[in-house]
Amino acid sequence: QLSLFRFTVKRPFSTSHSSVDSKEMKKFQLLAHKWWDEEGEYAALHSMNDIRVPFIRDTLLSMRSNYHLGNPLSGMKILDVGCGGGLLSEPLGRLGASVTGIDPVEDNIRTADRHKSFDPVLAKRIEYKSSSLEEIVEESMETFDVIVASEVVEHVADLETFINCCSQVLKPEGSLFITTINKTQLSYVLGIVVAEKIMGIVPEGTHEWEKFVPPEELEHLLESNGFSVKTVNGMLYNPLSGSWSWTESTSLNYAVHAVKAGARAQSHPTDTPETAPAQHSATAATA
């Protein structure tokens, strides 16, 4: 709580349009030290790596011509927004990318820094900053090849501002990956009632159904902010096996891959592939 007040005092423009929701921050602060327990509160996020990392990796590889399978993301600069304890930053770093992980909760950054510090390769490849997305925009215009915002947009206060900032820090033709939860009756029953209150898959109070984002709304916001949506895939969590899989339906969880418009007016065939890149994606389900 103390760090929250310090945050408000230090940053005068936190009262202007900010995508950070202070109530949300408080929720995550309490669980800051639980990130790396693979069987603990964040178990579902750990196992989500099994589908989101290959999704990101294969999509990016399909857009590259020059890569080595031993270091597939080498040379890529990735921004992990809402990185938490670094659960997604670390695998991306291991695959060779230079990762910048940002999160408004200082305790999360502290946990992430400590966890990566034991591995010299990761310690060099990953940099963590306690910050909101808006705060880094000025110094990071068109800096990143890739942005990943996984399980984040359902927690932000202003989604349009968020997407706009993503666009600003992303290079032309850069990729944006989002995973989030749809706003449906099903997601209320399964995502809130069952997941939080009954089965405890997610700590209670983590999510607010009101802030869930339907894919149509997300796509619309992306397209009107200079992005071209390439892939939308449904994701399904099986609580019995503790594992995620891809699915046709986007009524619960889903993943999106969007590409920022290029600097050039003309687009070459190799630059913006129209076909769904990820091998395991079913049909590119839109509405």
């Binding site: 031993g70 597939p72 310690a123």
Partner: protein, 439 residues
């Protein structure tokens, strides 16, 4: 936040393999040649000195292994099989297994004229693996004369200041850290003991006598022979047209006798073991003959042609040796940041010729999961994929180890009912293609 100074910490490896025998060396070589491990650091710890395999002696070594086609494929995947082929090996097409107490026999051979397996000297396999390890020396560091004396295990979900890695202490005081420790250090595995993994073990009151034998006359020699004597199975494994390797599992006392007797008596014992019918009884022979005619009524093409094993003329001096036999199975193959492979995980009786093949099977499975984990950017020591390896291999290994143990006990007796059971069982199995194929 205060960052741990990496400079003072012992060197960190992605994988440390403890034990530089055939299985440990192959594990390191396979990972070293895996594309997804291109930028990883692997260490192989071997307590003994580096051996010079440049010159293969003309005489055969007395330690050989029966290599299955699956194992050959694994060795191929890291480029070692080519070296084996260019050194020496003996493919065999057929296995004849029979009982000393009856006429019952079972023959294994492939329908197509493919090789069933290969008899290869262990030194040849080591020479090939050493070459392939040298080829990836930028990724795989081999530490010779480096016995690991202590391991420190991390806590599963690590707290603030303790290292999340496994700490390894060598005899000379050097220390290493690793994200995954693979124990390939044999049936008395230190890794397994230090990890406090319970091991179900049983010493057979048998030892295996090995020797290199010279046949009375040159022959195609592409058949592996095994006869079950009441004291234990005797096997003749082909090395060349004129030489075969002996593996004779028998009581400790008999093994000592065999080692002590002069060469002529030794050769006589072997020939007598393969040819003598002293253990037959009229009762069993009649019962067996009856069963055989019953089968031929139902299935005319019943049993295969019985070949005669070659007779032995000489034994290589200095080639006789013996080693005790036992059975063992670890209750767990994996723990957080630890995996056991080969004899460290399971030890079998040589009667099935499976020992090292089980180890190579472990390697194929573990390497598959580690390769996928590396390509997913996962923490290599994570139980998630280690448990998949354990499940797959235990499922495969347990039934084979149990069956081998049962066979060993079943064939260790002359009691009529059990002999009858196994005689009929063997005859039935020989006549039924589906059962034979699955073996």
């Amino acid at each position: 936040a205060p960052l741990r100074s990496a400079a003072s910490a012992p060197p960190l490896y992605d994988v440390v393999v403890s034990g530089g025998g055939m299985v440990g060396s192959a594990m390191a070589a396979v990972l070293g040649h895996d594309i997804h491990f291109h930028d990883k650091k692997i260490a192989l710890l071997e307590a003994g000195p580096r051996k010079n395999y440049d010159h293969m002696p003309d005489s055969y070594s007395n330690r050989v292994s029966s290599i299955s086609p699956g194992s050959a494929t694994l060795l191929s995947s890291c480029g070692a099989w080519d070296h084996v082929c260019s050194l020496r090996l003996k493919p065999f097409r057929r296995m004849q297994v029979w009982d000393a107490c009856s006429e019952a026999m079972i023959v294994f051979e492939k329908d197509d004229l493919d090789d069933m397996g290969y008899i290869v000297e262990n030194d040849v396999i080591m020479s090939a693996l050493t070459k392939q390890l040298d080829a990836v020396a930028d990724r795989v560091e081999v530490f010779y004369r480096s016995k690991a004396v202590g391991y420190t295990w991390p806590l599963p979900s690590h707290s603030c200041d303790t290292s999340p890695w496994v700490q390894v202490e060598l005899a000379d005081g050097r220390r290493l850290q690793t994200k995954l420790l693979i124990g390939a250090d044999g049936h008395n595995s230190v890794v397994r003991k230090e990890a406090e993994i319970k091991n179900i073990e049983h010493q057979y009151d048998q030892s295996a006598v090995v020797a290199t034998l010279h046949l009375s006359e040159a022959t195609d020699n592409n058949v592996a022979w095994q006869r079950f004597l009441p004291t234990g199975p005797i096997a003749l494994l082909p090395l060349s047209d004129t030489a075969s390797s002996l593996v004779w599992s028998t009581s400790h006392d008999h093994a000592l006798e065999l080692l002590a007797m002069d060469e002529e008596s030794f050769v006589d014992s072997i020939n007598s073991a393969f040819w003598s019918n002293i253990n037959h009884s009229d009762f069993i022979d009649t019962a067996g003959a009856m069963f055989r005619s019953a089968i031929s009524l139902l299935k005319p093409s019943g049993t295969a042609v019985r070949q005669l094993p070659p007779s032995v003329a000489k034994v290589d001096p200095e080639s006789r040796a013996m080693f005790p036999l036992g059975m063992g199975h670890a209750t767990e193959y994996v723990q957080h940041r630890v995996a056991l492979i080969g004899d460290a995980a399971h030890r079998v009786h040589p009667l099935a010729g499976q020992g090292v093949n089980l180890g190579f099977g472990d390697i194929a499975c573990l390497a598959h999961h580690l390769s996928a984990a590396a390509f997913n950017g996962s923490d290599l020591g994570s139980l998630k994929h280690l448990l998949k390896f354990e499940t797959e291999r235990q499922r495969h290994n347990v039934s084979l180890i149990a069956a081998t143990d049962v066979l060993k006990r079943l064939y260790s007796t002359t009691l009529a009912p059990l002999v009858l059971l196994r005689t009929w069982g063997l005859q039935a199995t020989n006549a039924l293609p589906p059962v034979k194929v699955s073996i």
